[in-house]
């Protein structure tokens, strides 16, 4: 008799414990759902508010005539667009649903930024810019209309964002078929009706379609030729035999043959390279063999990297900075023409610190930009340029360099090293008109120096 009661009591306690725990989990779950839904709501309402501001600001910028006011409006547009894009990125809708919208927001902000630079240089906003602003204004008005419509839905339907939360939890990858997602998709479709925006900014369309300048005019190569080029390019070690084999095609920004090179040295490492179809140049190379303890100094590794590039026909290169990670170090090299360091023509070389073997090369910057340039003549002397540097800095250097400006422009400049207390800076003075172009801060880390 007692045993039976004892068993029942234990059983009941166990059930009660399980029940309490289960209920606790359920309430915690609901709380989190609520919390998440609130976050989405905040992001959505902020997005709607910012897009509304954008529409108003764009229309104002088209009618303002004082360049100072224009400047202020454009900077405000840039800020609102950045916030709007950030808030859009917090909503659980993927690129399929809102990619075009995100793109519009980024480009509006970016375009406003490029106009501000124009205005601050003293140039006026001409008819072409006005037309683009008008088109952007129309797009923002359409977007605003869609979002206002959605705000109505949200106000009427209490479960709008809870649905989203549920979608996120169940992670269904089916085609979107519920209210929230359909609304966003309709909004995105509106945006797709407008033509692509082309202007000189980092997020402009034409960056996607840029042609690699170093390969222009060259013929296509086939797979066996790609294997031969890969074989010649890699850092062959003495006493090892190599086999190169094309394993596929890469249809990225620069179409290429993918080549794998194996060695008979037995460490199992494979070197993979992409050799461009046009011109047969190596875009990148990576040898992923395990690395041993460091035996070389950074300076010895730099010399090996420089010799490697010289042997492969890169011409005169100057090493700019390096970054060390683990037992390898990556050097950045820039091309040199007539004594001027050309920064956009960038090659990165990774050297293994156990035996000095070149285990990585990255040349896409060089391939996209390198060509024989007509360099402008320096309009100011080094001394005159020095005068333009902030007098608080202790200055040295003053070599001529070519720096990128925006996306497709390049500027000739004097590069000075400035020291203020413990901090180091790089100052760029335009060599043609003597104005200060840019200031970069040098940040020392254990792995190397970063510029920001």
């Amino acid at each position: 008799m007692k045993k039976w009661i004892f068993a029942a009591v234990i059983g009941a306690l166990a059930l009660a414990a399980l029940g309490t725990w289960g209920y606790g989990q359920y309430t915690a779950n609901r709380k989190l759902e609520n919390y998440l839904s609130n976050k989405y709501q905040r992001a959505f309402y902020d997005l709607a508010g910012q897009v509304q501001s954008l529409e108003v600001l764009l229309s104002k910028s088209m009618v303002a005539s004082d360049p100072r006011l224009d400047s202020a409006l454009l900077m405000e547009i840039r800020q609102q667009a950045a916030f709007a894009q950030s808030n859009l990125g917090q909503l659980p809708i993927n690129d399929a649903l809102a990619g075009r919208t995100a793109k519009f927001l980024t480009q509006v902000g970016d375009y406003a930024d490029s106009l501000v630079r124009l205005v601050s240089r003293g140039e006026a906003i001409d008819a072409k810019h006005w037309d683009t602003l008008n088109s952007l204004y129309e797009q923002s008005a359409a977007l605003n209309r869609e979002l206002q419509g959605m705000q109505e839905s949200v106000a009427q339907n209490n479960f709008y964002f809870s649905e989203m939360v549920r979608q996120v939890r169940s992670k269904l990858q089916k085609t979107p078929d519920n209210l929230a997602r359909t609304d966003f998709q309709a909004m995105d479709k509106q945006m797709q009706r407008y033509p692509a925006l082309i202007y000189d900014g980092p997020f402009s369309e034409h960056l996607e379609r840029a042609e690699p300048k170093d390969l222009s005019g060259q013929g296509e190569i086939d797979a066996p030729e790609a294997e031969r080029r890969a074989f010649v390019f890699i850092d062959r070690q003495d006493g090892a035999g190599y086999q190169a084999r094309v394993t596929g095609e890469a249809n990225g920004r620069i179409p290429a043959h993918r080549v794998e090179v194996t060695s008979d040295r037995g460490d199992g490492a494979v070197t993979v390279l992409d050799v461009s179809r046009q011109g047969g140049k190596v875009i990148w190379m990576m040898n992923s063999r395990p690395l041993g303890e460091q035996k070389l100094s950074i300076e010895e590794a730099r010399q090996k990297a420089a010799r490697f590039l010289a042997d492969r026909g890169f011409g005169e290169m100057r090493s700019t900075y390096f970054l060390r990670h683990g037992n390898s170090v990556t050097f950045n090299f820039a091309a040199v023409q007539d004594g001027v360091t050309i920064y956009p023509d960038l090659v990165k070389v990774t050297v293994a610190l156990d035996n000095g073997e070149i285990i990585g090369v990255e040349t896409s910057g060089y391939l996209m930009n390198h060509r024989r340039r007509d360099l402008p003549k320096a309009g100011v002397t080094r001394e005159q340029a020095l005068a333009a540097v902030n007098p608080r800095l202790k200055v040295s250097g003053g070599n001529l360099v070519l720096i990128p400006d925006g996306v497709s422009e390049e500027k000739l400049a004097y590069e000075f090293h400035g020291k203020l207390g413990e901090d180091s800076y790089l100052i760029y003075i335009n060599a043609v008109n003597g104005r200060e172009e840019n200031v970069l801060k040098l940040i020392e880390t254990p792995g190397g120096t970063l510029t920001m």
Binding site: L91, N94, F203, N251
Partner: protein, 226 residues
């Protein structure tokens, strides 16, 4: 009868403990008799250093390890059950993941970005070769440069539903050296994906829309597209 009840009770306790343990799995897994792996090896090494463990550190939790762990727990005022849970990990001084990158002297640095990138790479491509890991890192960096995605690395990584390993917590495992190296190479500019913005495993279920993108290449188990 009593035996059945006691067994039920024990089963309940075991289930609850296992569920608690699963939450901690993202940081340091709970180890007990029968566990095996790198984590067991670390525990054995540490206990060996401190004189509790006299056997061979082979990464398999057997009787010797059990005795050593129990003895350690007894000496440190912990519950001597032979199970290495969060308290025992802390007492062993092995709470942090093994690979923490060095902190820079400067105030402004991108160390945080590299660690975050390495975490996602570890979560998404732990079984891929180095090339596949660098490729995943490159996709994330390409997204920051694309107009359709957020501008910062953390913005891209934490975009809702963007990366499965972030959504399900797998990205919070200890980061391997290879993932860190891959993150650094991707930050240095290596891009084996030719500017790709998307990657997926074709063997797994994926949104069919993604196949309409321009496929660039396949590396390991992942297909990359722009």
């Amino acid at each position: 009868m009593i035996v059945i009840c006691l067994v039920c009770l024990l089963a309940l306790i075991a289930v609850l403990a296992a569920l608690q343990g699963r939450q901690a799995a993202a940081q340091n897994p709970v180890l007990y008799w029968g566990s095996a792996g790198d984590d067991v090896y670390r525990v054995q090494q540490r206990l060996s250093q401190w004189g509790y463990y006299t056997g061979y550190a082979d990464g398999v939790y057997g009787y010797e390890t059990f005795r050593a762990v129990s003895s350690f727990q007894r000496s440190n005022g912990l519950l001597a059950d032979g199970v290495v849970g969060p308290a025992t990990w802390a007492a062993l001084g092995l709470s942090a993941p093994a690979d923490v990158p060095a902190v820079s002297r400067g105030a402004a640095t991108d160390r945080g970005d590299i660690t975050l990138l390495a975490r996602v790479i570890e979560g998404e491509a732990a079984d891929e070769p180095l090339l596949g890991k660098v490729a995943v890192g490159a996709v994330i960096l390409n997204r920051t440069k694309s107009a359709s995605f957020p501008r910062t690395i953390s913005g891209v990584i934490f975009q809702p539903e963007a990366f499965e390993s972030i959504s399900n917590g797998q990205a919070y495992r200890p980061v391997s050296q290879e993932s860190l190296q891959a993150a650094q190479m991707a930050m240095s500019g290596y891009d084996p994906t030719g500017g790709s913005l998307f990657f997926w495993n074709p063997a797994k279920e994926v949104n069919p829309w993604v196949w309409s993108r321009n496929v660039v290449t396949q590396i390991g188990n992942h297909v990359f597209a722009r």
